[in-house]
Amino acid sequence: MTHAFQARLDQLYKAESRRVLATLIRLLGDFDLAEEALHEAFAAALAQWPKDGIPGNPRAWLVSTGRFKAIDQLRRKARFDVSYEDVAERLEAELATEEEEEHGIEDDRLRLIFTCCHPSLAPEAQLALTLREVCGLTTEEIASAFLIPTPTLAQRIVRAKAKIRDARIPYQVPEANQLPQRLQSVLHAIYLIFNEGYSASAGDNLIRHDLAAEAIRLAHLLCKLLPEPEAEGLLALLLLQDSRRAARVSADGDLILLEQQDRALWDQQQINEGANLVLRALASRRFGPYTLQAAIAAIHAEAASVETTDWPQIVGLYDALLELTPSPVIELNRAVAVAMRDGPEQGLLLIDALLARGALTDYHLSHAARADLYRRLGQKDEARAAYQRALALAQQGPEQRFLARRLAELDAG
């Protein structure tokens, strides 16, 4: 086998294996059987194509070969367990419709996404299954990205597949009246995958970054298959957040806040793509919280500095966001934006009111925000106390180092 052929086959595997798998799951009605069939189909391609050449439509060849291999497999099993006979027969009977294999192939990928993110599966199972089946990551890759032992993750996937089979979770795209809620579940899973890669600072950063890239690829795929405004809003949000990746961590792995980031390091291409998506989603008037968050991120991304940022518009977007999804964390972010618009005192009033009603009292960022506002007002004692409180609550290394640095600066200056 030539080097070029091997490269072509690798490329085909990368481009087609997930599509072929999604279709095989529909045709065979079983995740495990489809996965086995996929591998057998590629093994057959490896044996046959160097002699016969690559077929005109490799995808159709792979689907149809995978299907035959699965039926063979079931027939072999049926020798020991007759219950497989029925399944094999049913699959063989359906072979007449083989021309239809190609039909709706893109829908199969969407079916796969919606099935993996079915809300009756636990969120962590949704993430694992999506990364495994839709993105094609190995169990080992996913386990190391989530910093959990491989057997734990493998079991999570096995259980999720068992639930899909036993509870009979159908392989379908939800109907129109179910779509908004079910789409939320998919978007949330993609968002969690991104966050896992973006915000985690423990473990192997390189692998974790892969998760952010994987989430962006997934969001791209979803937008292509189902161009809903809120899906585009999520993609925009991920792109805009990811555009700051190179600027948000120093060479020693320390966090750099937005106002100190070197904006020249921001990825302009991602910003442009994100900002265009935001405009489109907003214009649809059918957007949701992801689009609004993306709009806020876009304003930051397009500003030349913190001072020239359009804070009034950011406050307005936070108001809209709070109306859609009331949350103390969003209130905290809004308070920081108000401080930028109206001065630190106004921000402090809002944060203190939040804390007074018992919200976010154990959240390090509410104290870090207070500390920062006191620092700007030159009230060092109050700032010091708030930084110390934040430091005591912070969990992650880079955040602790950042707060300790701020405390030291306060004492020095």
């Binding site: 009979r168 979770i169 159908p170 939800p174």
Partner: protein, 117 residues
């Protein structure tokens, strides 16, 4: 495939309803039950008496251990059940979401074992 749907409700909510509201809810439930029966999807349904009438039994070393009240002391209590025949999980969810009390409480949807072994 069969799905057992368990409806959990806060009894307080029903006690707080006016007779007219209760009457309307009952009529709505009856109409839905009738429609499901007609379509052949409803296999059984019953409404239970208040959870305070419940007793909980454990058999340990051949001795019955009986205690008063329901198995779990939660705010929402099992209040009714319905056994349905649905093509798949999504259809079961669709049917359960039309069950009138789903608007007030919580419905747990449990797939029934296909062939008991």
């Amino acid at each position: 495939m069969k799905y057992l749907c368990l409806s959990y409700e806060e009894e307080e909510k029903f006690r707080a309803m006016s007779p007219a509201e209760l009457q309307a809810l009952r009529a709505e439930t009856l109409a839905f039950v009738e429609a499901l029966r007609t379509s052949g999807q409803l296999l059984a349904t019953e409404t239970l008496q208040s959870a305070c009438t419940a007793a909980t039994l454990h058999m340990r070393d051949h001795c019955p251990l009986l205690s008063d009240g329901p198995f779990a002391e939660t705010r929402e209590q099992l209040d009714s059940f319905f056994l349905i025949e649905a093509q798949d999980f999504n259809e079961a969810i669709r049917i359960a979401s039309q069950w009138p009390t789903a608007r007030f409480g919580t419905i747990e949807i449990r797939p029934v074992c296909e062939d008991p072994r």
